[in-house]
């Protein structure tokens, strides 16, 4: 019986490539990984946005209206709804001059109770140090 922590680190811009979407869908897939594992084994996902990746966390995305595809905002909210730990790098948010109220911090509108956290990069490093595997997107 083991729990292994996987850190999904998103450093890519939203929509420019598929990378950040794949990060989110792979992180969310941790919710069904048990079907392949022994009883008691599981994956603990941590989702962290750093560098350009923090721009994925901007609120009021309109991808569905503009392109007819689900927005990354919806995927981040789904992550929060599923109680994934979502971290946003404080230094990078400040670098872009983004205020907290411009970021996706919760999923209350779809019934989520878990909130995203804006944390110093050193905290994200601690999460990476304590993870079994790092998956950079």
């Amino acid at each position: 019986m083991a729990i292994k922590k996987f850190a999904f680190i998103v450093k890519s811009l939203p929509y420019k490539t598929e990378a950040s979407r794949l990060a989110l869908t792979h992180a969310i897939a941790s919710q069904t990984v048990e079907i392949y594992l022994e009883d008691g084994d599981n994956v603990e996902p941590v989702l962290a946005f750093i560098g350009d990746g923090v721009l994925n966390c901007l609120r009021n995305q309109t991808a569905m209206n503009t392109y007819g595809v689900t927005s990354l905002e919806q995927h981040i909210k789904n992550s929060l709804l599923l109680d994934l730990k979502v971290l946003i790098c404080k230094e990078d948010v400040e670098k872009f001059g983004i205020s907290e109220d411009a970021l996706i911090m919760d999923a209350e509108d779809i019934g989520g109770e878990t909130r995203a956290n804006i944390v110093a990069f050193s905290e994200i490093m601690k999460e990476m140090d304590s993870s079994h595997h790092l998956l950079f997107f």
């Binding site: 890519s12 792979h26 897939a29 941790s30 595997h133 790092l134 998956l135």
Partner: protein
């Protein structure tokens, strides 16, 4: 020996990341390791059968068949990523499996090392 899980997200054409990871898989198997190989996003095109081998483009089907024949290499393509790109189960190259993304995470779970190569 160990188990290496390699996840790749880069295009078959336009990047040599897939070529590199197939070569790395071969080297690992020659050393006695087992390799799980996952492709997602644009990398799913690696698993499509019927590719013509031009000298100007990566052509990895022959090498993949050699790796499958070792019995120490299993490769899986992201089913949703493949379907979104318009190729179906019957279009998939012999030897490949198709699963959802949780298969990759489960493979990572039991891997000694994970090499995750992001895409374009």
């Amino acid at each position: 020996m160990g188990k290496l899980t390699i996840g790749v997200f880069s295009s078959l054409v336009g990047s040599l990341s897939l070529d590199f990871t197939v070569k790395l898989s071969e080297a690992a198997i020659k050393k006695g390791h087992k390799v799980d190989f996952w492709v997602s996003g644009n990398a799913t095109m690696l698993s499509k059968k019927g590719q013509r081998a031009f000298k100007d483009y990566s052509a990895l089907e022959k090498k993949l068949q050699e790796l499958f024949a070792t019995g120490n290499f299993q490769a899986t393509t992201c089913e949703a990523c493949a379907e979104a790109r318009g190729y179906r189960k019957e279009d998939t190259m012999e030897g490949w499996k198709r699963h959802s993304m949780d298969w990759y995470l489960a493979s990572c779970f039991s891997a000694d090392k994970v090499l995750h190569i992001g895409g374009d």
